[in-house]
């Protein structure tokens, strides 16, 4: 990943104004701007300026305005998905515990990546549907989990439920991230867990 001329003399330092670094700074600048103004009101020139480079430099790293957005969204989703998977697999066999672990992880992620979460889940700032599409990719997984657990004994339609859950998580997390003082983190987790169908007491006694 790095360093053109690292022999041994320089223990760690390198001309870290390298291409990779510029790319990183463009990503950071873009994330910031997309989170605050949305895709459509953010210009490539703004992004470049925010990264401290000239306008044309942007196009050495990304083929057009949308590629940077795509990159941010895809990387963030991959990261988040990985964290959620991991959180779930460590929670034991109790489905409610898994849900809780995942909600906790979701809010932790949100707290650490506020700008990114705004881009992913915030009300559209002209995102052209990418974030939404990627988001939809995860709905089937939710649906599968529901099917597995709920079986046939409820009136809950798994597809509809998956849509509902995904939307409520996205909304709550985006809302909370805007201002984490709106509610204590644990309260949010508790509520999301409680709202989940798995928390529902068995149909009969």
């Amino acid at each position: 990943m790095n360093v053109t001329a690292s022999e041994s003399a320089e223990p760690a330092r390198a001309p870290e104004r390298s291409a990779a670094d510029t790319r990183r700074r463009l990503l950071a600048s873009g994330t910031q701007l997309f989170a605050s103004k949305g895709l459509q009101k953010t210009t490539t020139v703004d992004i470049a300026r925010g990264a401290g480079v000239a306008a044309g430099t942007y196009y050495l790293h990304f083929k057009d305005k949308h590629e940077l957005f795509r990159e941010i969204v895809l990387a963030a989703f991959d990261d988040l998905r990985e964290r959620l998977r991991h959180a779930g697999s460590h929670a034991g066999a109790d489905p409610v515990a898994v849900v809780r672990a995942r909600m906790q992880e979701l809010l932790a992620f949100a707290e650490e990546n506020r700008a990114v979460v705004s881009v992913l889940f915030g009300r559209d700032h002209g995102a052209e549907g990418l974030a939404e599409e990627v988001f939809d990719l995860n709905v089937p997984a939710i649906e599968a989990g529901l099917r597995r657990r709920l079986g046939a004994q409820t009136t809950l339609d798994p597809v509809v439920t998956a849509q509902a859950l995904a939307a409520s998580w996205a909304r709550v997390v985006a809302w909370w991230v805007e201002d984490p003082d709106r509610a204590p983190r644990e309260r949010v987790v508790d509520t999301l867990v409680e709202l989940h169908p798995f928390s529902r007491r068995p149909e009969h006694g």
Copy 2:
């Protein structure tokens, strides 16, 4: 204005290419386009063309590109809100029955106003937040209802729950309206009702 039943004295027809009619056609054209391409990709020229009038005519009826959008959103929300209120007030005292009546009304509205629902609840098409803002206006009402019913005996935070519910309804309705064959209407209603906290069996036997 209501020519349909005119006596006979009138020569024949009124200027039926009246301003009000053009305005209506612009609204229809705009709704269609906003639903399919979003606010930002829709041009005033498109809207005018869709209404069968010249570009400048748009501005005789709406002061700028956003006024038409505002008009659609505000009128639709007013209409919907009224229908929901009415549905609720006819459902008796059982809170679950109220929820069910409202979900039914919501889906009926969606079926009758597919394009409008896309604009209201669809994934942002560059809506500049108006639909979202208006939507938020309704969250407090949901929250108040929750507070009244849930009391202090649950772990559900009313604010968080309101966000979650509003988001899930919006998403489900937008998703369903895209293609009503995705699920039978009653199935959707049942699911939404079941997911609502009021359907939850009381905490203690």
Copy 3:
């Protein structure tokens, strides 16, 4: 010109909403608007509205936007010219007395026709040069007067002097009319008279 149903009972009154009246009102509305916003920022629709008629009515009375302006300017100049001629011819043979009489008349006219004076002499509001052209038509007359009186004995070029005088009168009158409290009318007259070359004491004794 008028009256659909005037029998005889009404001695003098007539539906003075006749064509001539509409025309007059358009002229008045235009004068007002040209004076306050200038030719270019005034729209024909504004003029019509100001006259209490529909947009299209304007074109029944004036062939285009400029004809109304032309009318105002030409009529006002004719009126002013006539008044100045008359004032001069009543002032006797003393050239300075003639100048004084004319300056007095000019300021009287200005006071009575503030809006019109703004249009005629005010700083261009996008007047497309008509007022200026018409104004120039009067410079030769001033020049002729100077030639007659000054003869060859001065260093004053009559053409240059005529330009200078015309411009100073126009400017002073427009400036004064904006707010007549800026200087007492007689003071303005005295100054203009004093500045006129005829007030200059003879070259030699």
Copy 4:
């Protein structure tokens, strides 16, 4: 930046199609067009074309249509004011000599900057009052000069006189610049000097 006399080390030429150069060409093009057609009839596209660049390039250098105009007017007035001040301060103590020096400088300036003078003093081409406003800024200085010299012994009101003089200079210079053959430059100077109140022989003997 000043390439003209570069040694030899430099490969050959700098990007002489530099921003500063383009900016200069836009200013020149704008001055030309404003002088001939006025602010309002000049389009930014015209200006760009006149400068040999694309339409959008205009906005890299000026934020809107008026900024270029402002720039021209302000720079020209600054320049002119400086030259007049300098001319006056070199003319000795005789007030008439000062006036003469300034009138000479004014006409020299006009001859060297015909287009700019048209913009500054020409009959309004829809200038939106900027030139006029800036012009007015100079009237108080004229007024102060008059007050100092004239004292209380005349009937001349300094404010009115200042308006009259400023207007006559502006008009004469604009008129003369349109076609300098209209009068020999010295003749114009002589006339303006003679018309100035300072040239007036003392009130008594």
